[in-house]
Symmetry: C2
Subunit: 297 residues, 2 copies
């Protein structure tokens, strides 16, 4: 990424993280609930690249809006994403003790607290948008509607359900893999792009483009992840590789073969970049998309 | 309860249950997510008295509104209530295998499905209100705002957190018990009454009365439950008594003594009934309140 875009990304991330903290303050009135607030903030602060909230702010900016008007959406979306990670890590789900080098929420606190912290984050996301009086009622309802749609059983949670079903299934087909990926990875990325548009009052045509861009990026990202799990090394990637093979998991790489998967990822990346080319202020997002998706060579 | 009110209650419950089913349809597009939809519907259909959604419809009716305009709120609130029960029953929480004589969600399905079904219900509640085009944008935002506030870490979930903390605490005081009860029992009952008001466009003064009525009913209901656990029999109550003593739980009955607890419940019941007396079409709600709260003698 260009230096100037790295700086812009850093500023976006700082804005989002500050907003998140301000939306979950420690207050006298909730002293008794401190433990769950600690757990919510612990997982929110565990970091990651903040891809989703940055996409919200930058779609807003690309369309000529002030990213500050998209901050409640960006924070809300990151809350939903974090809630899904907390619940995903639970013993009954993926049973992960660590996430990004830090203890997962139920290990740092306990299972009951992690369940409740996830629940509280998912609910609070809607509160944050509903209370943003700087946005028109119409925008707030559209934002809440898309956030609920994309994170619910037709979106992200739906993807988790399909993933769970696939684990008990010996012949996962490509349609199934697409559906799972559209939910687990695609839904919140699409949601980010769409929320950025809504915050500027964009028209349906623009929203449809952002939606398609998000679908392409989400799917390409997952395919590339699957490929790297086979072809890369732990040193290059900075995280363990070969885990899909160990768990005998069906992925785009195992189902299509590396070459075809690679071709599909490249095609989707081109389509995503082509969509951005239709906008004037596209430089940052093109650079970010490149950074996210052109990781193989 | 009077025969005519029993009939009205039955009609309300039927309306709500039909609405709930219509809000979570089996559709071609979510065939792969059938398992989680099954789990959501299983727990929603497990019944109970539907006190909260009936309060939504009846506050709306008492203020001269058409209960049909409050149906999305009633269904959304019942989804939130059901989600909290599903997660409450999980092994890491209360570890209950049965609820109302039926297997709890994680026993009928599995833990992962129960976690996801709860998550999906809590998110879908907001979707249902956001998509209700028969309500003005202003009403929808107010409804979503109060629902998120009352069910989140400052409300219902906050109460669950305090309850969890109290279990590891030897000297739970009365303030703590009030705070827990206000969250666990009070928040969604207050929310029901307030949502009924909002659906008719009621003013702040009316909403404040409904809010106070809800607080009184929620607290009185919990106190009476605590008393009955000591004084009643399994035959009369239709559920096991003495469970608080067995688990050495601090309750209003153990902390205040039966007599004082009884006095407080009576005082709160009187206040709740007194609030209803300020409204013209109060007959049904007075009868229902009496039925809920005058269970001791």
């Amino acid at each position: 990424m260009k230096e100037i875009h790295m700086q812009q990304m850093k500023e976006d991330v700082e804005l989002v993280e500050e907003a998140i903290r301000s939306y979950i303050p420690y207050e006298e009135s909730v002293n008794r609930q401190k433990r769950v607030i600690d757990a919510m903030r612990y997982s929110l602060e565990a970091g990651g690249k903040r891809v989703r909230p940055v996409l919200v702010l930058e779609f807003c900016r690309m369309l000529g809006g002030d990213p500050k008007n998209a901050l409640s959406s960006a924070a809300a979306l990151e809350m939903i994403h974090t809630f899904s990670l907390i619940h995903d890590d639970l013993p009954a789900m993926d049973d992960d003790d660590y996430r990004r080098g830090k203890k997962s929420c139920h290990k740092e606190f306990d299972e009951a607290t992690a369940i409740l912290a996830g629940d509280a984050l998912s609910i609070h996301a809607f509160s944050v948008i509903a209370k943003d009086n700087d946005l028109s009622l119409d925008k707030r309802i559209k934002l809440i509607d898309i956030l609920a749609e994309m994170s619910g059983y037709k979106g992200m949670i739906g993807g988790q359900v399909i993933d769970m079903e696939n684990e008990n299934c010996n012949d996962v087909d490509i349609e199934n893999l697409y559906a799972m990926c559209a939910g687990k990875t695609g839904a919140l990325i699409r949601c980010a792009c769409i929320m950025g548009c809504i915050s500027t009052g964009a028209d349906e045509e623009t929203i449809a483009k952002a939606d398609r861009y998000g679908s392409c990026v989400g799917l390409a990202f997952q395919i590339i992840d699957d490929i790297l799990d086979v072809t890369s090394t732990t040193e290059v990637l900075g995280k363990p590789v070969g885990s899909d093979a160990v768990s005998n998991k069906t992925t785009f790489a195992t189902l299509m073969g590396i070459e075809k998967a690679d071709e599909l990822a490249a095609k989707l990346t081109d389509e995503a970049l082509g969509i951005l080319d239709q906008f004037d202020r596209r430089d940052f997002l093109k650079d970010m998309t490149h950074d996210l998706l052109v990781r193989i060579k």
